[in-house]
């Protein structure tokens, strides 16, 4: 017969157990695996297509070009993150979850850690495959050292920064989606909101003809600023440094998670 745990022991074990519970929920959903595979496949497909269609022209940023697919693949990462929360609301599971673990912040933190970790892992695979595709295909498209283009290489500082940064970018986008899903709860609304947020700033920046506004839109947009991390050419002309840009996205993700945490804390499930 096991003795009931004391309060101190319980709080000590709360975190690993919540993490374990959340991991079981995430792992046993069929959609998780499919979505991760889909994110990898879509990203690598779009990146490869972009690289295969590239033509030699002045100012082509090879690292950026071979990581183009991130822009499409992020949509799938968003779905994964949103479903981690909204599935619980649509089935009523959230009430069981919160009964088992009444510390609501801990639940959200565990979900964020697991979703972030999974997307980091998938992102690493994706980025490696995309960079490899770029390295193999770009020389055939005329981007050879003889023409003044270096081969993509993770031993090269800016290329490495672009690759690692893209992995972080995907994880941050997933965290942003998780936070928004905790606020709006419904999967369709959450996905719509996040994707509008991600895709609207670049479209608006492309349309507006005033360079002053264009710069501002790019600086504050989660996608536009976040993707500065992929820039390896003309870095000095960017409105923000690459890491500052990724910081803007991190602020968005943090803001969304804090808001999501507050809503989770103060609203009935």
């Amino acid at each position: 017969m096991s003795l009931p745990l004391s309060a101190g022991q319980r709080s000590h074990r709360a975190w690993p157990e919540t993490l374990h519970a959340e991991w079981t929920k995430l792992r046993t959903l069929a959609s998780t695996g499919w979505l991760l595979a889909g994110a990898v496949a879509l990203t690598v497909a779009v990146s490869t297509a972009a690289v295969a269609a590239a033509a030699v022209a002045p100012g082509v940023d090879l690292a950026k070009l071979s990581l183009t697919g991130i822009q499409a693949g992020q949509a799938v990462a968003v779905i994964l993150a949103v479903l981690a929360i909204s599935n619980e609301y649509s089935t009523g599971m959230i009430r069981v979850t919160l009964t088992a673990m009444p510390r609501r912040h801990t639940v959200l933190a565990a979900k964020a850690a697991l979703v972030g970790g999974l997307v980091l892992a998938a992102g690493a695979v994706t980025v490696l495959a995309s960079v490899l595709a770029g390295r193999l295909i770009l020389p055939e498209r005329g981007f050879t050292p003889a023409n003044g283009y270096q081969l993509l290489s993770l031993g090269n500082g800016p290329d490495l920064r672009a690759a690692c940064g893209s992995v972080l970018y995907l994880a941050l986008v997933a965290l942003l989606a998780l936070g928004i899903a905790a606020v709006v709860r419904d999967s369709a609304v959450a996905i719509g909101t996040v994707l509008a947020l991600l895709y609207l700033f670049p479209i608006a920046a492309a349309v507006v003809s005033n360079h002053h506004w264009q710069r501002h839109l790019e600086q504050i947009g989660p996608t536009t600023a976040g993707l500065y991390i992929q820039a390896t050419a003309g870095v000095h002309a960017l409105p923000l440094t690459p890491w500052q840009g990724l910081g803007v996205l991190a602020l968005w993700a943090m803001g969304a998670l804090i808001l999501g945490g507050l809503v989770l804390r103060f609203r009935d499930a």
Binding site: A49, A50, G59, T68, V82, D186, S187, L200, P202, W213
Partner: protein
């Protein structure tokens, strides 16, 4: 043996036709507050973004004070800075009008005939072609020497044979093939009151009429003579997230002889001059003309053609109204979410079983739902487009931003097309949602099909080649209804969807048809699965 009469309700059967089904679905739609709010959000986001884009575009800052007084950016009046005003042709459409003109006044009726023996450019280089396909030279009758005035011309072109062109947008082909000393081209323009007729010939004896055009209000005294011009060479490279457009001048040099005139030509000598701002031509090939022993050598640079909007074409700062409908894509996301939930909510709540018990013919349920969500989305799209056009035009007037003029039929098509685009996209979403039943999957599929291709192309995230194909085959092709200005085959320009040019590879209604095709396909699949699967 007794017969048992089965129980029958004394209540009379209510009508259960299609109108009742429509009414039921409409009631479901209008009584969910979140869905109605979603549609209103779609309208507000679209119009709000349009308003913002005009306000941001109109608010052109004029750079830093050149005197360096330390006062920071200095704003000048709208006339002092911002884009140059648009040059407009006889019908009010924006035009380009710059060429080298060797002319004399012609009073009353008359004609001019020439023989062209060559059309050449500078020797081509790696970044510099010699001639453009639409480099042109020939004879021209023009209302006066001001830019944008009415004209008609017969010309030889570098890659498109003999053409008759008039009033910037008119273009009719004549003889084909390039001009050379071995195969010269004879050109003739005849003026009769305000009708100008163009002829061409290979030998100066056998003439063919190419076209006869009516230039309304042509004065008695007009300018007539020889011209040459050659449009800019535009090299476009779109790399990830940025597009580079290099414009380089080209020049065309044509040799004319056998210049013959009939009618009243009061001047004795020819006068040469630039129409439009004097351009220098290319180093070593200045604009100008040379006359010796009846031979005229005319060199010019520029174009006489309709102008094409977009920074890629050197026309930044004047955008057509369709451009400010870019917020449609954001509003569309809201509509997609609502259309998804209109179906998936039935499955989530189990309401679908009640719905199908009441109306066992499942195809009819799908049809009723499609009609209701399609109509609601059409109204939403219409309100969004009309609202955007109204607020964007109003803001443009208020801030002194000059919109690229768009004729009213095109403006009407932009509005109706946007409404249709939103409606058909909603029906497509409904069908996808019926097939997959899950909100998340349905929203993702439709957004990846419509929004992502538009995004990838519009922001030049993928190379232009891929972007063009995405806008041909994916449902995003329907955004072609938002193209404000037509492509002109006689103008080589950056007709790109990205770079702020707003052009699409398909014609407006063809693009919408692509989306309709996808929607029809999805509806067929949805009807099949709805009948074959348990609810």
């Amino acid at each position: 043996m007794t017969t048992i009469t089965p129980y029958r309700s004394p209540v009379q059967d209510g009508p259960d036709g299609f109108p009742q089904l429509l009414h039921a679905e409409w009631t479901k739609f209008r009584t969910v507050r979140g869905w109605v709010i979603g549609m209103i959000v779609a309208i507000l986001v679209t119009a709000g973004l349009g308003l913002f884009l005009v306000a941001a575009s109109g608010n052109v800052s004029c750079g830093v004070s050149s005197t360096g007084g330390g006062s920071g950016p200095v704003r000048h009046g709208a006339a002092a800075c911002g884009p140059p005003p648009l040059l407009q042709g006889p019908a009010g459409e924006p035009v380009t009008d710059s060429f080298y003109f060797v002319r004399q006044p012609l009073t009353g009726n008359g004609s001019i005939t020439v023989r062209v023996t060559s059309l050449t450019g500078v020797p081509p280089g790696p970044m510099q072609p010699g001639l453009m396909p639409w480099s042109k030279a020939g004879i021209l009758i023009k209302q006066d020497l001001s830019q944008g005035s009415a004209y008609a011309a017969m010309m030889v072109t570098s890659g498109n044979g003999v053409r008759m062109q008039w009033n910037y947008t008119g273009d009719t082909p004549g003889l084909s093939g390039a001009v050379s000393a071995a195969s010269p081209r004879w050109l003739r323009l005849t003026r009769d009151s305000d009708t100008i007729t163009g002829y061409d010939s290979t030998d100066g004896a056998h003439w063919t009429q190419v076209g006869a055009v009516h230039l309304a209000g042509l004065p008695s005294a007009v300018q007539a003579g020889l011209f040459a011009t050659s449009p800019q060479y535009i090299a476009i490279s779109t790399s990830f997230g940025s597009g580079n457009v290099n414009n380089n001048q080209t020049v065309a040099t044509a040799v004319f002889d056998h210049v013959r005139r009939s009618g009243a030509w009061p001047a004795i000598t020819w006068t040469g001059g630039d129409i439009g701002p004097a351009t220098e031509g290319i180093q070593g090939f200045p604009q100008g003309y040379h006359q010796a022993a009846g031979r005229f050598t005319v060199t010019g640079s520029g174009d006489i053609a309709p102008a094409i909007p977009g920074p890629g074409n050197g026309n930044e700062g004047h955008e057509p109204i369709g451009f400010f409908l870019a917020g449609t894509v954001a509003g569309l996301i809201a509509v997609i979410v609502v259309a998804t939930m209109f179906m998936t909510a039935e499955y989530r709540r189990g309401l679908i079983r009640t719905t199908l018990a009441v109306s066992p013919v499942r195809g009819r349920v799908l049809a009723a739902k499609a009609i209701v969500i399609g109509s609601a989305a059409f109204v939403t799209g219409l309100a969004a487009a009309v609202g955007t056009v109204i607020v964007a035009t109003g803001e443009a007037h208020a801030s002194g931003y000059s919109l690229w003029p768009v004729p009213w039929p095109a403006e009407l098509r932009l509005i109706a097309g946007t409404a249709a685009l939103v409606a058909v996209a909603a029906v497509l979403t409904l069908a996808v949602a019926t097939m997959v039943r899950r909100s998340a999957a349905a929203v993702m599929l439709v957004i990846v099909a419509i929004v992502v291709p538009y995004f990838l192309t519009f922001t030049a995230a993928v190379p232009a080649v891929i972007g063009e194909w995405l806008l041909r085959i994916t449902p995003a092709a329907a955004f072609a209804v938002q193209q404000s200005t037509p492509r002109y085959h006689q103008v080589q320009a950056a007709y790109l969807p990205g770079l702020g040019d707003g052009f699409f590879p398909l014609a407006p209604w063809a693009g919408l048809a692509v989306l309709c095709g996808w929607a029809a396909l999805a509806l067929a699949g949805a009807a099949y699965l709805l009948r074959r699967r348990d609810a």
